[in-house]
């Protein structure tokens, strides 16, 4: 993870080309959702010690947001997928 990311569009690229946005498990609540749901979305984080998914943007490449599944303890990357495809129920 921390050295290279295999971008599904650009191939393995150095970490410096990417920017981390944060936890990718969070779904933006509906406008009418509860205050608690909105608070949880914006502020609360599972922050697991182990497998985690994050949004990384390939800012120095294709500019796509990627869903990066990786281990926060070992830094192993388990999978990388395009975020829009994941959001639309495509290949996860």
């Amino acid at each position: 993870m921390a050295s290279l990311i295999s971008c599904p569009h650009c191939g393995p690229r150095p970490k410096e080309e990417f920017a981390v946005r944060g936890d990718a498990t969070l779904l933006r609540p509906a406008p009418e959702a509860s205050d608690e749901a909105w608070h949880a979305y914006v502020y609360l984080r599972a922050n697991p010690r182990g497998v985690h998914v994050e949004h990384w943007q390939h800012v120095g490449g294709c500019r796509r947001f990627l869903v990066v599944e990786r281990n926060t303890l070992t830094h192993d990357v388990l999978s990388v997928a395009d975020a829009a495809e994941v959001a639309q129920g495509g290949a996860a």
Binding site: M1, S3, L4, P31, Y41, H55, V59, F65, A83, Q88
Partner: protein, 994 residues
């Protein structure tokens, strides 16, 4: 021939003598020498002083683990402290000086510390210097600081260049010793892309010190033949003088290549050092093993060194480290080394073996006494060793010698494999810490894997590389193993190490550089610091520049022995990058000085320069700050003139740095409606609108304009500073939040040169360069449309005003920017046009109460800055809507944007001043807010300011204290509306033509 140089042998070029100086004295050596070997050859054994007790020290090793022989090399801006003499390649005119001594290496007053060492026990500084407290900074600390430290850094500008590079390979072999060379050869012959890196300037590792024949020829010749074949293979890259210092994620390795450090004057065509980021499918750690010092009384006397180092000096450099060498050992390897030393013509006078019954006896040279079951309890001599005191079966004996070679066994160099957190594994069989299993991508080979014979190491290199070749889907060639003359038998179970020779009569050192002795570790244990990490931190063991390469394992062994545990239970402290120290310069590469970060220049940069602009950094951009004219005495005079010109006539300002994003698609309107907090759905084609974006937490993210250029075609602008962030924000929204929306967009920031033409004469000037009708009816305020310039160039025109004047922003393709600006200036000359810069722009906007990042600092809401009316709460959704409703963001006592005018109209208000109620005592509780922006208003003729004042909008007319304690100023100001000039916006579209 110098005192200690052997008559023959060694990989030095006796035809190339080199002269150099050490502490001002002239010495000579040969090409192929290191500084250490050349000094030893000249009979110099005293090379440094230790850190704490300033004890005299000599060289301990022949490699990168050297703790003692640290010197400062070079002079002027190339002066470099703390270089290991064992790693400095000798060159003509090299100058080296010793460190951490005063007045001289032989007579060092700091050695007084040694007399006081009982007082200066481990951690002594935690227990004293507490009274009186002011004395710490004034007396104790300066004394400690001066005494501490090693070499002196100049902190002068470095004249040399550095660079960084990526490299990719199938197999990275770290270390070009027996295992590494064979591995590289095996993989190289199989066609893999191989990188072979070694920290030494000559490839071969231990083969260069080996005294036996391989395939009937000297071992170093055998190595040279392998290197020659590797060098000829196009798929193999050799990196001598390159230390692999770190193992990072995804099998990326960091290495530093010392490209020109060995040359007297580096060429400016090459960097002096180069960082390699090596992406390796597989890697082999063939880093060999470090010999373990023996801990006995006086084991730090100059002349006492590692046995393997003594052999390296003899075999590789043709130097006898002494004329009468005593070998002290607790293992077979010491005996073998003693024999090898004798083979190379070094006189070994005694072999002291701590073991009572040695497992195996190598033949001893004639004249050497063998004392088994004996311990060394002290060494004799002052600045160099003159003898040993041994005890055997209770009988003491003194032995004359002028060098002591100690062989305490071998520690595999496991560091790199442990940098991801895995701990070395203690092996009872090897009696050593072995590398942990970190998976197939990175394996150890040879001595680094714990193998102890040359034959095993050679074979392991072939075997490990063959496995990699197969793993990567290639077929491996057969690489025959060479015949080794008189190979030693595999030793089987290693002897139990002797962690501390009993009966020490003087300090028995564990960490040589930091002066940690066995008694310090005992003290740490006694005081409760027995955990390996506590002991390290309390005693500073393994914290010196060698990072415990010699001391780490011994400390664990000693602690284990004292606790009655196995070293497995005590463990060892963490290995981290860097394997050996790496220069800032190498890691920084080409990024330095003016080129530390990229420069961004506007397409109008050339125009502004021609207009005589003074520039200012704005993020990566260089922007014109103001345009001085002859006779103006300071920047204020220029800015005041520029502001007055804009207010009275017309001015031209480069606004190309604004972020510009062009959007298309059927859902573009809906998309923008969700991104901005104000309504965007019904923006007509041909119109622009001011827009405010929030973060999801309800704070203002950025502001700018939204222009609808066509039914499904929009152009938005962002502030200069936030351009990249807004782009990313949009991409997040489009790709992650609402991927179903049909919208596409691209940044066009760099495609357009954009200039603001502002002032009552703006229309007349612009009409001279634009073909289209610019009348108020054709181009009303907030119009946004395509225009054709005279001559046919197509551009975009926006009726947007930041200054409050009649103003246009004209965008043209970037390459035409300068020509258009020049045409406008020519057209405006008759109207008194002037260029204006950021400073005037800032004054103009403060006068109009417009906000920038000084107000929109990520902590303000739309309401805070007086834009609460823009929040379209009736919209079903927009980013930031929900959380902007929280109590904390809507509380009435939040800071609100107001204007300030000093009661004494002469007082300049400074941004950053705080506000207090008149008569209130300054305190955090009483703090009423702060000044965000301030300037002198040439339009009003006095200073003005914008401020965020608690409940400010209710307080217009109140007098508040402007409190600038930093400048020792306080004075009253009146709270006024933040719009100082033309509050009714009459000037944007003057009724009468100007």
């Amino acid at each position: 021939m110098s005192a200690h140089r052997l008559l023959t042998g060694g990989l030095i070029d006796r035809g190339k003598p080199l002269s150099f100086t050490f502490d001002g004295r002239r010495h000579s050596g040969f090409a192929g020498d290191t500084l250490a070997s050349a000094l030893l050859a000249d009979g110099v054994s005293l090379m440094g002083r230790s850190f704490k007790y300033h004890r005299p020290r000599g060289v301990m090793t022949a490699g990168s683990a050297e703790p003692n022989a640290l010197v400062t090399v070079g002079g002027g801006t190339r002066r470099e402290p703390n270089l290991r003499a064992t790693m400095v390649e000798l060159h003509e005119t090299l100058t080296a000086v010793s460190q951490n001594r005063w007045p001289s290496l032989a007579t060092d007053f700091g050695a007084l510390n040694d007399r006081l060492s009982a007082l200066l026990s481990a951690g002594f500084y935690y227990k004293t210097f507490m009274w009186p407290s002011a004395f710490w900074e004034k007396l104790y600390e300066p004394l400690i600081r001066r005494a501490a430290g090693l070499g002196r850094a100049t902190l002068k500008r470095d004249p040399d260049a550095y660079e960084k590079a990526w490299a990719f390979c199938d197999l990275l072999v770290i270390g070009a010793g027996p295992a590494g060379l064979m591995a590289a050869l095996t993989a190289g012959r199989a066609g893999l892309r191989v990188i072979l890196a070694d920290e030494d300037f000559r490839l071969g590792g231990w083969l260069l010190s080996e005294t036996r024949l391989i395939d009937g020829r000297p071992a170093h010749d055998f190595a040279a033949i392998l290197v020659e074949e590797l060098a000829a293979l196009p798929n193999v890259t050799l990196l001598p003088r390159s230390t692999v210092f770190g193992w990072y994620d995804d099998n990326v390795f960091g290495a530093v290549e010392r490209v020109q450090k060995h040359l007297p004057i580096p060429s400016d065509k090459q960097p002096v050092e180069r960082i390699w980021r090596i992406v390796a499918k597989r890697a082999l750690m063939a880093t060999g093993a470090e010999e373990r010092p023996l801990v006995f009384g006086g084991n730090d006397r100059p002349g006492v060194m590692m046995a393997g180092a003594a052999l390296t000096y003899a075999a590789r450099y043709g130097v006898a480290v002494g004329k009468r060498v005593a070998v002290v050992t607790a293992s077979d390897s010491g005996r073998q080394t003693a024999a090898a030393l004798a083979r190379r013509g070094v006189e070994v006078v005694a072999l002291i073996d701590a073991r009572t019954a040695s497992a195996q006896a190598s033949p001893m040279p004639e004249g050497a006494r063998t004392l088994t079951g004996a311990h060394v309890v002290d060494t004799l001599g002052r600045l160099s060793v003159e003898g040993l005191v041994t005890v055997r079966a209770g009988f003491e004996e003194r032995l004359d010698c002028d060098a002591v070679a100690m062989a305490g066994g071998w520690n595999p160099r496991v560091h790199l494999a442990c940098q991801h957190g895995a701990k070395p594994v203690w092996s009872d069989v090897h009696q050593a810490f072995l590398p942990p299993d970190v998976g197939p991508d990175f394996q150890a080979a040879g001595a680094a894997a714990g193998l102890s014979t040359l034959a095993e190491a050679l074979g392991d290199g072939v075997r490990k590389a063959t496995a990699v070749v197969a793993d990567l889907g290639r077929s491996a060639p057969t690489v025959p193993l060479p015949e080794i003359d008189a190979e030693e038998a595999a030793s089987g179970a290693a002897a139990s190490p002797v962690w501390l020779m009993p009966g020490a009569r003087s300090k028995a050192f564990v960490d040589f550089q930091n002066d940690v002795h066995a008694g310090d570790l005992a003290l740490a244990l006694r005081e409760g610091f027995g955990h390996a990490e506590h002991a390290k931190r309390y005693t500073t063991n393994a914290m010196a520049t060698d990072q415990g390469k010699l001391s780490g394992v011994n400390a664990s062994g000693l602690l284990a022995a004292m606790k009655g545990l196995s070293p497995a239970e005590v463990g060892i402290t963490t290995y981290r990058p860097f394997y050996t120290p790496v220069s800032f310069g190498a890691l920084a590469g080409t990024a330095r000085d003016e080129e530390a970060v990229p420069h961004r220049l506007s397409p109008l940069d050339g125009w502004a320069k021609a207009q005589g602009a003074m520039f200012v950094e704005a993020g990566l951009w260089h922007r014109p700050a103001y345009f001085p004219r002859p006779g103006e005495k300071d920047w204020r005079a220029s800015v005041d003139r520029e502001v007055r010109t804009v207010r009275a006539a017309v001015g031209l300002c480069d606004v190309s740095t604004l972020g510009k994003i062009e959007l298309f698609g059927p859902d573009a309107a809906e998309f923008l409606n969700r991104l901005y907090c104000n309504p965007m759905l019904r923006l007509p084609v041909g119109k622009a609108r001011y827009g405010l974006m929030l973060r999801e937490d309800g704070m203002v993210f950025d502001d700018g304009t939204v222009s609808r250029l066509g039914h499904q075609h929009y152009l938005i602008t962002t502030t200069t500073a936030m351009a990249a962030k807004v782009m990313s924000h949009l991409e997040h929204a489009a790709q992650v939040l609402w991927p179903a929306l049909q919208v596409r967009f691209a940044s066009v920031s760099e495609q357009w040169a954009q200039m603001s033409l502002a002032g009552p004469k703006a229309r007349q000037v612009l009409q001279a360069v634009v073909e289209d009708d610019l009348s108020a009816e054709a181009v009303p305020p907030l119009a946004a449309q395509a225009v054709t310039l005279r001559g046919g160039l197509r551009g975009r025109l926006f009726r947007i005003s930041f200054s409050g004047e009649l103003a246009y922003e004209l965008a043209v393709p970037a390459g035409h920017g300068r020509a258009v600006a020049e045409a406008i200036m020519a057209a405006g000359r008759a109207h008194g046009i002037c260029p204006y810069g950021l400073e005037a722009l800032n004054v103009l906007r403060i006068e109009k109460g417009h906000v920038t990042h000084a107000e929109l600092d990520g902590r303000t809401t739309p309401d805070d800055v007086g834009l609460g009316h823009m929040l379209a709460r009736q919209k079903p959704d927009f980013i930031g809507k929900r959380l902007s409703e929280r109590y904390g963001l809507t509380a009435a006592d939040r800071g609100q944007l107001v204007g300030l005018v000093p009661v004494d109209r002469q007082r300049m208000i400074r941004a950053g001043a705080h506000l207090l109620r008149e008569g209130a005592k300054p305190s955090t509780l009483n703090d009423q807010g702060h000044v965000t922006s301030a300037c002198y208003s040439p339009t009003l003729g006095h200073p003005i300011a914008l401020a965020l004042l608690k409940s400010g909008r209710e307080r217009l007319g109140e007098r508040v204290l402007v409190w600038d304690r930093l400048h020792k100023e306080e004075f009253l100001a009146e709270v006024v509306s933040p719009v100082f000039v033309d509050p009714d916006n009459r000037k944007i579209e003057p009724k009468e033509p100007a």
